[in-house]
């Protein structure tokens, strides 16, 4: 039943993605920028999805620690959301960090700036990559607990970084004008919102698939452990 639902959702998502692409390439020409401005239809939704999934990952870490002793099965499911959120979030964040400079170079002539948004995004990417590295390198049964703790530390760092970057001072950078829907013309708003919806659905499909994969791997590991115990 759930598989059918997921399949339907995936099909609907594919349709949405195609529609989103069609909207994006046919969006009306923007006055100051050429075709390159259409990068925002992939860049900004990816950023939103990435931040959302990092929040999911942090929630998963907290959930794992909360249920660790009381309900181990549920705790493992939460840990699955933690790693799925982190991995898919890193994927979307990589997209953001690659498409951003491409857009920035054409729009403003610079590849990078150390303003609040970019620094926070880069730092988030670094923190969650380090989270994934810890999961890979940490040994045995402590891996989930250690990584859950690191996930919490990382999640706390994000607002701190964002606030610290809003402090005016040493490194003023060009301001990212007119982000999101503030002052966006309605003809551009429609492709923008459409692509947000499409990428959100895509991200959810990938997240659910990754979570399923993680549950499978957990089951396989438990099976192996049981076999080793009974052998």
């Amino acid at each position: 039943m759930r598989k059918i639902l997921l399949g339907l959702f995936a099909a609907m998502t594919t349709v949405l993605m195609v529609w989103g692409f069609h909207l994006a390439v046919n969006a009306p020409a923007e006055m100051m920028q050429g075709d390159a401005y259409r990068i925002i239809f992939y860049h900004v939704p990816s950023a939103m999805v990435a931040f959302l999934f990092f929040a999911v990952s942090m929630a998963g870490s907290i959930g794992y620690l909360a249920y660790r002793e009381k309900n181990p099965t549920r705790a493992l499911a939460w840990d699955g959301w933690a790693v799925a959120g982190a991995e898919v979030g890193v994927v979307f964040c990589t997209v953001v960090l690659v498409t951003g400079p491409l857009w920035g170079y054409r729009a403003w002539g610079i590849w990078w700036a150390w303003d609040a948004r970019l620094t926070t995004t880069l730092l988030l990417w670094l923190i969650y990559v380090s989270y994934l590295l810890l999961r890979r390198f940490a040994g045995g049964s402590q891996m989930r607990t250690s990584s859950a703790v690191l996930g919490i530390f990382g999640g706390i760092a994000v607002p701190i970084v964002y606030i610290s970057n809003r402090i005016p001072g040493q490194h003023p950078g060009p301001v990212f004008g007119g982000d999101s829907s503030s002052g966006m013309a309605p003809e551009i708003l429609r492709p923008f919102l459409g692509n947000i919806l499409a990428w959100l659905c895509w991200g959810l499909v990938v997240l659910i698939l990754r979570h399923r994969l993680e549950l499978k791997q957990q089951a396989a590991a438990a099976r192996d452990a049981e076999q080793a115990l009974n052998a």
Partner: protein, 95 residues
């Protein structure tokens, strides 16, 4: 069948990435900094349009390369799981 699917799944993101890099590298050069001395705004926009287009195509292609790459990686892990899982169910250990 699965091996072929896995191979295709691995090739697609790499091909997309190569296409994106090729698009970027083959974009026409930008007009020089003092273009206002040689051409009008309209001419400049005409010269710059293919560069903008190249960047947008590259950005979209890289996005899909990254997304497809992740899907391919998940697919590989999934098939590895199923392979190990099904052999355990028959009681035989993978050698």
């Amino acid at each position: 069948m699965k091996k072929i699917a896995a191979r295709i799944a691995a090739v697609i993101p790499i091909a997309l990435l190569a296409w994106a890099i090729y698009t970027l590298l083959s974009a026409p050069p930008e007009p020089p900094g003092d273009w206002r001395l040689h051409m009008t705004q309209a001419q400049h926009d005409l010269a710059v349009a293919p560069i903008d287009h190249a960047y947008r195509v590259a950005a979209y292609t890289v996005t899909w390369a990254i997304q497809m790459g992740f899907l391919a990686w998940m697919g590989l892990k999934w098939t590895a799981q199923t392979r190990d899982g099904s052999e355990d169910a028959h009681g035989t250990r993978r050698s």
